[in-house]
Amino acid sequence: MTNQFFTLTVNGTDHEVADSWLGESLLDVLRDRIGLMGSKGACTQGECGSCSVLVDGRLVCSCLVMGATAVGQEITTIEGVAPVGAPSDVQQAFVDAGAVQCGFCTPGLVMAVHDLLERSGSPTDTEIREELAGNVCRCTGYGRIIDAVRQVSVNRSSPDEGTS
């Protein structure tokens, strides 16, 4: 397969990628070739998590995935989490808890929190911190984000007791 032309499946839709140069990261392919701007690049070293996406159900930093190697895999980005205007429970919890300030880390964090809560329904405070340690936020100091995660965890375990 040559890099110049390949197909990636993102959020259930096939996208033909042309003019990509070899070595271009999945993050750059998503943003610059496919036009999905939700994933953000803040470090290009896998140190901040702003670019987090799911590849075949695994949370990874898209800046560390070579775009052309993701052919044939299921890629889920922030755009695939919920329809525009109908945020997921995690997304709404972030807004409600004041966990969003500048918002640059937010898409990556939303991906990481969705992934965390899939794997662990009721994480402890320490578990939340360890599992989100790959997502850096410079604005919030993390307190409101942890509140948001706890709130979702509580709501999901008692779904018939009203919404947050």
């Binding site: 397969m1 040559t2 890099n3 390949f6 140069w21 070899l22 070595g23 990261s25 290009t44 070293q45 896998g46 140190e47 998590g49 987090s52 695994r58 949370l59 990874v60 930093c61 800046c63 560390l64 995935v65 070579m66 052309a68 190697t69 052919v71 044939g72 990481a112 992934d115 965390l116 360890e130 599992e131 340690a133 790959g134 997502n135």
Partner: protein, 288 residues
């Protein structure tokens, strides 16, 4: 420029044999950082290994008392209880790697292939005297890990070879890993130590990371422990513990760089070795 996505080890080896300068890409957690920084431009051929199923599995051989791990097994997979119970130090080391995102992508084979002295899995592989199986289009060979790790980011890989598997002996005894970094998560090791006890052979292995061009084994400290440990009670004296710390520090050859000083690194591995020893054994006269 091409990206190949083989699905078998044989195919990967064949491709590499045809194009020995090809870039091997597994999790990308080291290689893509260099590509993104512009320090590395991939060669004409990139061989993605993330779909080679042969590399993605591990097996336990109870008779040979070994665990063999495919080079493509990720750190997250190494933390799975099934394998963590067999090689706890490797699970502990895996837990210290980066973040869930990094652990989901990074592989043991990649760690070996990069061969940084700070590689988190490497002190464990060295302490356990693991063996590395290398495969090429024309054959294969298995060499001890200490022979494989030659220097700073230099391995014994020949052109056309790729890392297929890592074979680890299963020891009867305590093993653990500890790593020092400036913050509490997401750190490159400033100093790291793995200690593994083999009750059958009555030996202790101590391997150090980030304090030399490659992983350091502490021969003198290990010899001291082999003879000084009371193997019936699994205990040792406080004096021996202190000697271990001093000998481990002395075995290290750290440098000073922007991350830390040689003095601190040498001090730190001694402290870590002492604490791991304390976790592995009872200290005579110590109250806990």
């Amino acid at each position: 420029m091409t990206v190949a996505i083989p699905t078998s080890l044989a195919e990967a080896a064949r491709l590499l044999g045809e194009e020995p300068d090809a870039m091997l890409l597994a999790g990308g957690t080291d290689a893509m950082v260099e590509v993104n920084d512009g320090h590395r431009r991939p060669a004409d051929l990139v061989i993605a290994l993330n779909r080679v199923t042969d590399l993605r599995s591990w097996r336990h051989d109870p008779e040979a008392r070994t665990v063999t791990i495919g080079a493509g097994v990720t750190y997250t997979e190494l933390m799975d209880p099934a394998i963590a119970d067999l090689v706890p130090a490797l699970a502990e080391a895996s837990r210290t790697v980066g973040s869930p995102q990094i652990r989901n992508a990074g592989t043991l084979g990649g760690n070996l292939g990069t061969c940084s002295p700070a590689g988190d899995g490497l002190p464990v592989l060295a302490a356990l005297d693991s063996r590395i199986r290398l495969v090429s289009a024309t054959g294969e060979r298995t060499i001890p890990v200490r022979e494989f790790m030659v220097g700073v980011k230099r391995t014994a890989l020949e052109p056309g070879e790729l890392i297929a598997e890592i074979e680890l002996p299963l020891l009867d005894g305590w093993q653990g890993y500890a790593k020092v970094g400036v913050r509490n998560a997401m750190v490159i090791a400033v100093a790291s130590t793995c200690l593994a006890v083999d009750r059958l052979r009555e030996t202790v292995s101590i391997a150090l990371g980030s304090v030399g061009p490659t992983i350091v084994r502490c021969d003198t400290a290990e010899q001291l422990l082999a003879s000084a440990v009371d193997w019936q009670n699994m205990s040792l004296t406080a004096d021996t513990l202190n000697d271990v710390r001093v000998l481990v520090s002395a075995a290290s050859t750290p440098i000073t760089d922007h991350r830390s000083t040689a003095e601190y690194r040498g001090h730190a591995v001694g402290v870590l070795a002492g604490r791991l020893t304390r976790r592995a054994f009872t200290i005579d006269g110590a109250t806990e």
